[in-house]
């Protein structure tokens, strides 16, 4: 059975209403994200993100798991 746009809209509206009622359409807390990661580690993360090393590590980490592939 094919899924129609109307089915998607109806499902989205139900999900939105339920999430709204539960207060889930916004994060639980609003404000600055602070994780206290040491500067040396932040610099290493910066290097990995800019060089593509993180993205390669993520691809390797989920290799063999097609549900987590970002292809």
């Amino acid at each position: 059975m094919a899924i129609s746009t109307g089915d998607l809209q109806a499902a989205a509206e139900r999900a939105r209403a339920a999430a709204s009622e539960a207060g889930e359409l916004r994060p639980a807390r609003i404000g600055k994200v602070t994780t206290n990661i040491p500067e040396a580690i932040r610099a290493a993360i910066r290097e990995d993100l800019a060089s593509g090393a993180y993205q390669k590590a993520a691809k390797d980490a989920v290799a063999g798991d097609p549900d987590l592939a970002q292809g």
């Binding site: 989205a12 609003i30 600055k32 580690i41 980490a61 970002q70």
Partner: protein, 145 residues
Amino acid sequence: MIVVDDALLLAILAEQQGVAEAFLITAAEAGEVFTTGSWFWRLARVVARPGQGALSRALAASSEDEQRRVHNALDQLPAEIGLLSMRRLVPVMAALPGQLNLLTAEAVAAAVVLGARIAVSTASPLLAAAASSVDVGVDVVDLGR
């Protein structure tokens, strides 16, 4: 509202300072950033696996206390980052057109429910096509600028 992938989530958690990261951090401070369980899980798998990158080398050179602090910081999603549950998303995922994997279906469904755009660090044809089919915008963010 923006739904971010694992790399952009990592950039926010590590408080990165480039132009693109500053935009994401400002959005997160305003309560405008969500991620998905699949992307959070991808990040957790990378952090749990020793690899070849600078992060792995820096962690190996850190004290046990620092390593624990970093793992705690990256393992626990801050309350300032939104995450919709599968209870809400699965019916929407099931109504999406096409054959999608879990990561793509969850991201597109979250964006549909939130009325959000999706932001990723690398282009993904599968995600772009799935998002486009339901009029969800996808932005590729160039990190490190």
